[in-house]
Structures are given as C-alpha cells and as structure tokens.
C-alpha cells in the first residue's frame, strides 16, 4: 500500500469513531474534545490529499480558534452538566434507515460510475502544486476568486461586529449609571 493509503486506513476509523463518540457524549466538553480529534484527522487527510495549506488552516482555524471558542462558551455558561440522550424524534429510525439506504445506493452508483473516470496515480504535487501548494492556491484565490475573497472578508467583519453586539450585556449601561450616581 502506498503511504497515503495507509494514512487513510489508519485515520478514517479514528475520524468516524470520534465523530460518533461526539454524538453520544453526555458531557459537552467531552463532546468538544472528540470533535477536536475529528478535526485533526481531517487535517491529516488534507495533507494526504495534497493540500498542506488547508492542513495548517484547519488546525489554526478549527482546532485553534473555533473549538477553543466552543470550550470557552461551554465553560462560561457552565452548561457542561449531563444531558439526557433519549431520542425524541418520532418515526426517526425507520426514516433514517430508508434515507441511509438511499444515500448508500447513491454513493455506490457514483462509485461505479467513477471507476471509469479514474485518473491514475498522476502526482498532484507535480501537476497542480507547482512551486508549492500555498503559491498555487494564492494564484487561483487572488485572480479568479478575488471578489468572493473580499466579500468573505466583509462577512467576517460583519460577523465579528454582530457577535459583539449580540453578546453585549444590555443591563450594563444601567449598572454603570447607578455606579456613577453613587459617585
């Protein structure tokens, strides 16, 4: 087996296992930890799939920022007490089985169809990642997708401001007014 296949077969079970384990954790912090493990395995997949830049971004953004934010909120709100896992969705199981079978069939058909499309073991690093993955990515990102890139940056700013406005304490002004009145 090629090294990337070994990596896949080692990390895919870990990844699926951690995702499923996340669902069945009663404790929110434990669930978040399993999700972090999952994100790491996905980062390794990106490395194997010829996207080292995304590997780094995945760790920095997901593992380093987003999940820390989740942990922060869970700890801040103190909502890490146990949660019951009894299912409440009516008729969920039969529906899930039917839909799951449909999805499996669809993937099977896709897989059959894609067998003829196999591109062979041509090296991704030599065809696309010329001069480095980050460079290749930046050429496409800043030429063909420049407008979406800028729009995304606006979206991020709007989101940051919105988060600040939403999470701001409303009663703070009255408390401060009271404090100033005392002074």
């Amino acid at each position: 087996m090629a090294p990337d296949q070994i990596v896949f077969w080692v990390f895919a079970p870990v990844s699926v296992g951690s995702a499923v384990a996340m669902l069945f954790q009663r404790n929110a912090i434990h669930a978040a930890l399993f999700l972090i493990v999952n994100f790491f395995t996905l980062a390794v997949f990106y490395l194997v799939l010829g996207a080292p830049f995304l590997f780094a971004v995945q760790i920095i953004v997901y593992a380093g920022a987003i999940m820390v934010l989740f942990l922060f909120v869970i700890m801040l709100l103190g909502v890490d007490r146990e949660e019951s896992l009894v299912e409440r969705l009516r008729g969920q199981r039969p529906l899930a089985i039917v839909l799951g079978l449909g999805l499996a069939a669809e993937i099977f058909v896709t897989a059959r169809a894609s067998l003829g499309l196999a591109r062979g073991p041509a090296n991704f690093d030599e065809t696309v990642n010329v001069g480095g993955n980050a460079q290749a990515l930046s050429h496409v990102l800043f030429r063909d997708y420049f407008l979406p890139f800028e729009v995304t940056s606006i979206l991020l700013i709007v989101a940051a401001i919105a988060a600040m406005v939403l999470a701001q304490r409303r009663e703070r002004t009255t408390v401060e007014a009271a404090g100033e009145a005392e002074v």
Partner: protein, 381 residues
C-alpha cells in the same frame, strides 16, 4: 504529499530519527539550563546568590527539582474529570515540542556522504505550522482548568482562553507581515532572505508585536494572568502536583524556548552570523544558541522589571492597540512589497513621503477636532 517518501532509504530514516531524538534532548537540556539561568539572573538583579548547591554554581538545580517533583505524591481532586485531568498536562507539553520540527538550528553537516540539515522538516507551510502549534498550546491550560473541578483553575483557564486567542491574532499579524516581506512560508527561505539585513530592522513593529504577543502566549509575567497567584492561587494548575505539575512547568519553559527560537529565526537572521571557515557547521549553531539566549534574557528581564497588569487592561491592550497596529503594519508592508513592482522605485519614495506627510498633517490637525475631556473625574467611554 508525503514528499520525501520515494527516495528515502534506511540511512535517511536513521538520520531523521536521530535528528528528532537529538532535538528532543537538546530541548530538554536547554530548558534545564534556562530555568537555572532565569533563577540566576533573577537572583543577580535582586542582589541574591540564587541556587548554589546542586552542581557547580547550582547548574543542576532543575534536575534536583525535577527529581523531587517526580517522587511527590500525585493528587487527583474528588471533583476532577479524571481522563481530561490526566490528559491536560500532556497536551500542554506536546505542541511546544512539535513546534521545534520546523526551526532551522544551523546550516547542516555532511555525514556518510549526505547533507544532514539541522532541521527536522523543512515544511512548505513552516510558519503556519508554528502558528498552528501555538494555537494548540491553549488546550492544555483550558482543559487543566476545567477538569480540576474547582473554581480558581476554572477562572484561570477562562482568562487564558480569552488572552491567548486575543494575542494569537496579534502574533499572526506580525507573522503575516514577515512572510509578506520574505515572500515565503518556508522557514529556510525566510532565513535565506535575511542574508543582507535581519528582518528585525525593516520589520521592527512586527518584531515588537511578536515579542509582546509571545509574552502573552507563554503566560509569562507581566501577562501571567491565568496563574496570577495574588488573585487565583496558582491559576489553572492549582490542583496539580508531582509529575503532572512538572509537565506544566516543563511545557511552559519549552514554550518560552519555542517563542524565542521563532523570534530568532524570523526576525534576527536565524543561524546567520559572521564566522571563520574552519568547522563551518558549528558556528551557525553557536550563533543560533547565542541569539536565543539573548531573547530569553530579554524575556527574563521584562519579567523581573514589570509588574503584572490588570486583566481588562491586558485585553484592551491586545484588541485596541496591538491588533490595529498589526493591521496597519501589514498594510504598510504590503504597500512596500507590491508598489515597487507596479510603479517602480521612485514612486515608492513619493508614496512614502505622501503617507508620512499625511500622518504629520493629521497629527497637527487632530487636537482641533478631537473631543475634549470635560473633567478629570469622568471615565472615558
């Protein structure tokens, strides 16, 4: 992607493993010496003797402390979340060691007819790897604080989360400026681009931002709010003892060495320095070590000089000062890097003069339009 796979034979693998082992132990020894150095420098600045007994001039004091901690009883609090509680010290330590994988310690040496670089892996995305490992260091602290099942550690870990995420942004901006200026994400290329002048000179604001953010990332005084003893007993590791405490301690100092090494690699020319031509592989290594020691000394000096700052001031300094300056500096670096390509060098000078002039005019006009403070007692909003 697993790039080196095809051509590597058994000798390459042995050399790789040897490099990993050597770096690991070199880091451990450097931490040992670093703790000794910190205590000695502190003692010197406070006109004390410092540790004197273990080894010549107390060099082995860290070893003695380590042995003591190793044989102490490890206590797990009743309310602790056991698996996470045991995992947290390990998580605090590992990313710090991993960050060393991309740092070039020297040029390299020829062994058995092959070139062996003094670097474990010259990743294409080296600088991002460093950022990634830096962002993972927060987990050890957060999980330690939460899993202890006690209030002071929890407060410490909530503080450290907010602090480290905030200062990571500033640090990231400083690194972005450097990689724009050097034109590469690869550590070896960044060192190579500093053959004329160290990045610390043209990139001085980025250097300053990096050093300050590094102070916050390593939780060192004056930014050691997560473990402020006057407020939080010992912060996130209040409930830890014995070998688990030692791991936190070790991780913290490894982290300091990492931050200093990265500062040296990115801003102070890495292993570059004038050297005689005999034993050519040794001198870069010595230069690197000397520079790291200098940066570490700076950090120790800052620690011993400045008092701990208040938590809200820490946060507002990070968000309202460090990050805006970092953004402006990234903008300026971008202009310096790109504009000469587009308009030629003369236009750059003109542009720089216009910008400087605009800033001067703005600073002259600012008092006219600035809102006046009405009274001294009013708190500014």
């Amino acid at each position: 992607m697993l790039e080196a796979a095809p051509e590597m034979d058994w000798l390459d693998w042995i050399l790789l493993v040897a490099r990993v082992v050597v770096v690991f132990f070199a880091v451990l020894i450097s931490v040992m010496l670093l703790i000794w150095m910190e205590r000695k420098v502190a003692a010197d600045m406070q006109t004390r003797m410092g540790p004197m007994r273990a080894g010549p001039r107390g060099v082995l004091i860290t070893l003695a402390d380590g042995i003591k901690l190793f044989f102490k009883e490890g206590i797990t609090p009743t309310l602790a979340d056991r698996p996470v509680y045991l995992l947290a010290p390990v998580i605090a330590m590992i990313p710090a060691f991993l960050a060393f994988a991309v740092i070039p310690f020297g040029t390299g040496v020829t062994l058995f007819g092959r070139h062996v670089p003094f670097q474990i892996a010259d990743l294409n995305v080296g600088i991002l790897w460093v950022l990634a490992m830096g962002s993972l260091m927060v987990y050890g602290i957060v999980l330690a604080g939460w899993s202890s099942g006690s209030n002071y550690p929890l407060l410490g870990s909530i503080r450290s989360t907010a602090q480290m995420i905030s200062y990571e942004v500033g640090m990231g901006l400083a690194l972005v400026a450097v990689l724009m200026y050097s034109g590469s994400l690869q550590m070896s290329q960044i060192v190579a681009s500093q053959d004329r002048v160290w990045n610390a000179i043209p990139q001085f604001p980025a250097f300053a931002i990096y050093l300050i953010a590094g102070l916050a990332e390593t939780n060192r005084p004056p930014f050691d709010l997560p473990e402020a003893e006057t407020e939080l007993v010992a912060g996130y590791f209040t409930e830890y003892s014995g070998i688990k405490f030692a791991m936190f301690y070790l991780g913290e100092y490894v982290n300091l060495v990492v931050v200093s090494s990265i500062a040296v690699t990115l801003f102070l020319g890495g292993w570059r320095g004038p050297h005689p031509s005999f034993v050519a592989w040794l001198w870069p290594l010595l230069w690197f070590i000397a520079k790291v020691v200098a940066v570490v000394y700076l950090y120790i000096w800052v620690r011993l000089t400045l008092p701990r700052i208040r938590y809200d001031r820490l946060m507002s300094f990070g968000w309202k000062f460090l990050i805006p300056i970092g953004l402006l500096w990234v903008l300026a670096t971008g202009a310096v890097v790109v504009l000469p390509d587009v308009y030629g060098k003369g236009a750059l000078l003109t542009g720089a003069l216009i910008v400087v002039g605009a800033i001067l005019v703005a600073s002259l006009l600012w008092p006219l339009i600035a809102p006046r403070r009405q009274s001294a007692g009013e708190t500014p909003q």
